[in-house]
Symmetry: C2
Subunit: 269 residues, 2 copies
Amino acid sequence: MTTEQLISEIHKKKSFLCIGLDVDLNKIPSFLLEKEDPIFEFNKAIIDATHHLCVAYKPNTAFYEAYGIKGWKALKRTIEYINTNHPEIFTIADAKRGDIGNTSTMYAKAFFKDLAFDSVTVAPYMGKDSVEPFLAFDNKHTILLALTSNKGAFDFQTKEVQNKEVYKQVLETSKSWHNSENLMYVVGATKAEYLADIRTIVPSSFLLVPGVGAQGGNLQDVCKYGMNDSVGLLINSSRGIIYASSGKDFAEASANKALELQQQMAKEL
Amino acid sequence: MTTEQLISEIHKKKSFLCIGLDVDLNKIPSFLLEKEDPIFEFNKAIIDATHHLCVAYKPNTAFYEAYGIKGWKALKRTIEYINTNHPEIFTIADAKRGDIGNTSTMYAKAFFKDLAFDSVTVAPYMGKDSVEPFLAFDNKHTILLALTSNKGAFDFQTKEVQNKEVYKQVLETSKSWHNSENLMYVVGATKAEYLADIRTIVPSSFLLVPGVGAQGGNLQDVCKYGMNDSVGLLINSSRGIIYASSGKDFAEASANKALELQQQMAKEL
């Protein structure tokens, strides 16, 4: 998917909501556990109930890998279901990968070719030659971790290097990489006040913003400091939406939560 | 596996060799492609030919994920084959994972429980709460990226933060994390001269050293600067061993290459 198509969808749906499909079998409604593929059944119900309210889905691969081959099969069925029924929706493999050059190419093939995601999250620690193999794919997007939403972000990301924090170095340096127009960045909503500074470094890039809802980030603040002329934001909510109810009405409850966020977003556009 | 068991194996085999099982279907002998599971068949042959010469096997997950579900099945068969036939061998999932707390727990389950690896490589960018969930598992080891073997290591890892390079901050800071005795570190052989400094920060930790062979690192230099009283080194070779021949004799050729390295290691012990 091109960035222009994503922006067009945002305006059509009046939404820049991304829904995180982080399926934990201990949290989904218990009646689903009797099904042959409870992970996929849960995702399918959530997607059927929310696809008109969001512009992106983001399965975090950890939740699938934890269930072994069964989990990977459910991930593949989920992405195929989205790509077949809702090809207009931007898909993010939240995988936080990154390795030396030829190995990153294998990861890129896994997520862009085998699973056919539109984008993948990548960790920057190993530098340029660990990220460029992802950037080499046309109309695929690499979402680089910049400033994450967790406490541990203060361990290294916010430390100063030559009078500039590590996460700012990551933003700055990555702009010079080959095909850097395919980059987006992860910036946690729990650190909304940092967004103004971030926008001076990457004014036009899309930012994927986790941490609204369960982690405590505030939607209005994120928009105030992070929105640009092309919107430039994908705001993710996972647990706050998908676990809105653990009863038979879980899909309807998730749609209600998604609608709340979509309505707040419509006001910001 | 405990660290003591690993050290005992090193002395028994006079080897601290780790073999990287990075299977690329474009590089393995073509006659294997006719088999139902060529990835596993290749690994099985390499393991059968080399298990007496090495103390660790390290499949890099990228090479398996690139082949989708077929790849994950081959990874599972490979680790099960090692654990069943050679339980004395230390196993490393080279996965370079890392995410916010509850998500890292899911990754830890994937590699320590579902796949039953002894250890997993983890990226430090997201800090303490992204690594501690891995450290919580008894007799399992978390191998943190410190200074990697690629060029991109100079993009961020060697930049100075408060008069100390980022990778040294990672080493230093990680020592204060809960269950830090379960930590090992990745230090590239291409940067052997850095090992003396690294040993002043983590004198007793095991270091996993990739980059000997194909990437140009030198075994003697790594031992000179990196070895400690308990050896403290696992030196990895992947392509240099497993792709020693593309003919029918590939397993024998890999054993010859492994033997060369093992003999050099025996001299260093």
